[in-house]
């Protein structure tokens, strides 16, 4: 009888352990890519999985990634600001401030170069940098890994995501990259306008949106594209509302920040910065690499009358020698009306991108 009891206990323990055992059964993550977008090229060494995205989301909001456990990625990439920082410069854990505005995190899965100066050639490499930057999260990856390793929940999540024991900075970056690649914005009024203009079929819901587009918004779009109007389309067009390039858009005559030139050491790149998407621009203030403009009105005024000439100014700013495109008040209003069509509330409010728990 005694042996029978012991046997029952042993079996019960075994069964209970089996129940709690973490299995590696990754579930492929199906990205919801808008029909008018190109495919997203996923790195072969970081396939998208539900488990990876879930881990990445948790890490994105994890304060253990900072030296004093006070700051997460989301601190400088706030959902309500299109995942950028509403402050001109982000404050690090030590009270230091950077010199550039945090970029909005939108449709990063289609990008090839990251940061304003493009110094990171992949999303995974970009993610590694802020953690150890002394004016940002000011931690070390070995320290972060140690802290994450102390959590059974994280150990299980990393195993579920990658199938191997052990937390590494590379796996953490891969998970966050997976999460960031899910952050797709393609459901704005502009998307309906783009599809209509390119003869692409509109769904019934898009037909409904189409009927709400005002004459001012259409006129603003015409102005946006017009050579003798706002002339914006050279650098901002297509489904991503962005051309992959670095450009000097006439902010300064001399440069306190070399931008791309600081990376390439090529003087012809001085003063050039990555062209950002205009998607959700109403949410992502302040504007420009250094956040110098607080409002869209200031941005429009810059391109209208505030262009500064310099040796590397983008030739596509064709009215640079006149200081800008010289819009009148009415035209500025139309252009702003169009820029607001780039707002995608379903992206800003998507619960799948918000802090878990």
């Amino acid at each position: 009888m005694k042996y029978l009891f012991v046997s029952f206990v042993v079996i019960a323990v075994i069964l209970s352990c089996k129940k709690d055992k973490v299995e590696y059964e990754p579930t492929p993550y199906e990205l919801e890519i808008p029909s008018h977008f190109p495919d997203m090229i996923i790195p072969e060494d970081n396939p998208m999985t539900v488990e990876g995205v879930e881990l990445g989301r948790k890490l994105f909001y994890e304060v253990k990634l900072s030296g004093d456990n006070s700051m997460a990625c989301a601190n400088c990439h706030a959902p309500s600001s299109a995942y950028s920082d509403p402050n001109q410069f982000s404050e690090g854990i030590d009270g230091s401030f950077g010199t550039r505005n945090s970029m909005a995190l939108i449709n990063l899965g289609w990008d090839d170069e990251f940061f304003w100066d493009g110094r990171a050639p992949s999303l995974e490499e970009q993610i590694l940098m802020p953690v150890e930057d002394p004016i940002e999260m000011h931690d070390t990856w070995p320290n972060v890994v140690t802290e994450l390793n102390a959590s059974v929940e994280y150990k299980n999540m990393f195993f579920k995501a990658f199938g191997t024991a052990g937390i590494t900075k590379e796996r953490a970056a891969k998970a966050i990259a997976q999460f960031l690649r899910t952050m797709i914005s393609g459901s704005s009024k502009y998307d309906v306008m783009y599809k209509y203009e390119n003869g692409l079929a509109l769904s019934s819901s898009e037909q409904a949106i189409y009927s709400t587009i005002s004459l001012e918004e259409w006129a603003g779009y015409d102005l946006f594209k017009s050579l003798n109007g706002a002339d914006c389309f050279h650098c901002h067009n297509g489904p991503l509302m962005q051309v992959k390039k670095f450009s000097n858009n006439g902010l300064d005559a001399t440069f306190s920040d070399l931008g791309r030139g600081g990376v390439t050491s090529n003087p012809t790149d001085n003063g050039k910065f990555k062209v950002p998407t205009l998607r959700n621009i109403a949410y992502s203030a302040p504007y420009m690499h250094d956040g110098r403009f607080s409002t869209l009105d200031e941005v429009i005024e810059h391109y209208s009358s505030g262009i500064s000439m310099s040796p590397t100014i983008d030739p596509l700013i064709e009215f640079a020698s006149q200081g800008g495109v010289q819009l009148d008040t009415y035209e500025k209003g139309l252009l702003k009306a169009f820029l607001l069509t780039l707002s995608d509330e379903s992206f800003i409010n998507n619960p799948a991108f918000q802090e878990p728990n």
Partner: protein, 243 residues
């Protein structure tokens, strides 16, 4: 018997039972921008016959449906001097099948207005691969881009404040090119090369129609720019020749 010998020897490194992969020759085409007799470097200064200093900042074009007498060699390629240098494309084929080459400078109308996101990922016409060469709306692709900065005052002081932006597209401006009696240069066991040049001096000083960058400096193929647009892409096409 001789054929059998060649088959056996050519497959000797393969695992027994595996099919023997044929090795196909690689045919590559390059385009070297020049300014007269000089190699053209972006951002460097060249002198026009008018005495202007010109610094080209961007040279791009799309070549589409490049084919020989019977076979297509390349469906579409994107020349981007700043980003990818002088290489236009490399295709698979035998030199004897491509004794002449012809194609479009630009994108033919049947696909020019297709959804630019719907082309296969590996196609240069996919908007992910050709960003900046599509207007984003119905006119479709920009066939050629010439961008430059010009110093129009020859006073010995550099002042490159005159921007040149020539973006040409639209079906009406599609050009065709052809090269006959091609002598492919062998560069390896199965590699052959056909070098072309793009002479930007000839682009400006075409014998039948010249371009004065002081007055003819901007075109986006918009209404009112038809004449200059056609002249620009015709001159560009004529400036491409065997190197």
């Amino acid at each position: 018997m001789v054929s059998l010998f060649f088959v056996l020897t050519s497959c000797k490194d393969k695992v027994e039972g595996e099919p023997c992969e044929p090795v196909t020759a690689q045919l590559s085409v390059s385009v070297q921008p020049v300014f007269g007799s000089e190699i053209l470097y972006l951002d460097s200064t060249y002198s026009t016959v008018e005495g202007y200093g010109v610094q080209f900042t961007d040279l791009k074009f799309i070549a589409q449906d490049v084919r020989g007498p019977a076979l297509q060699l390349n469906d579409a390629s994107f020349f981007n001097y700043r980003e990818t240098g002088i290489d236009l494309f490399t295709g698979e084929g035998r030199p004897e099948d491509f004794t002449s080459l012809g194609g479009n400078l630009g994108v033919e109308s049947s696909i020019n207005h297709s959804d630019p996101a719907a082309f296969p990922n590996e196609s240069v016409l996919n908007i992910s691969n050709i960003g900046g060469m599509h207007w984003g709306w119905n006119p479709g692709y920009i066939f050629i881009k010439v961008e430059a900065k010009v110093d129009t005052i020859p006073d010995g002081t550099d002042l490159f404040d005159h921007n040149v932006v020539l973006h040409i597209g639209k079906n009406v401006n599609l050009q065709t090119f052809s090269f006959s009696n091609i002598n492919w240069q062998q560069t390896g066991d199965m590699s052959y090369h056909f070098p072309l040049k793009l002479d930007m001096q000839e682009f400006l000083q075409n014998e039948s129609q010249t371009i004065d960058l002081q007055t003819e400096y901007t075109s986006h193929t918009a209404s009112g720019q038809e004449v200059l647009s056609l002249k620009v892409i015709e001159n560009f096409n004529a400036a491409i020749s065997e190197y």
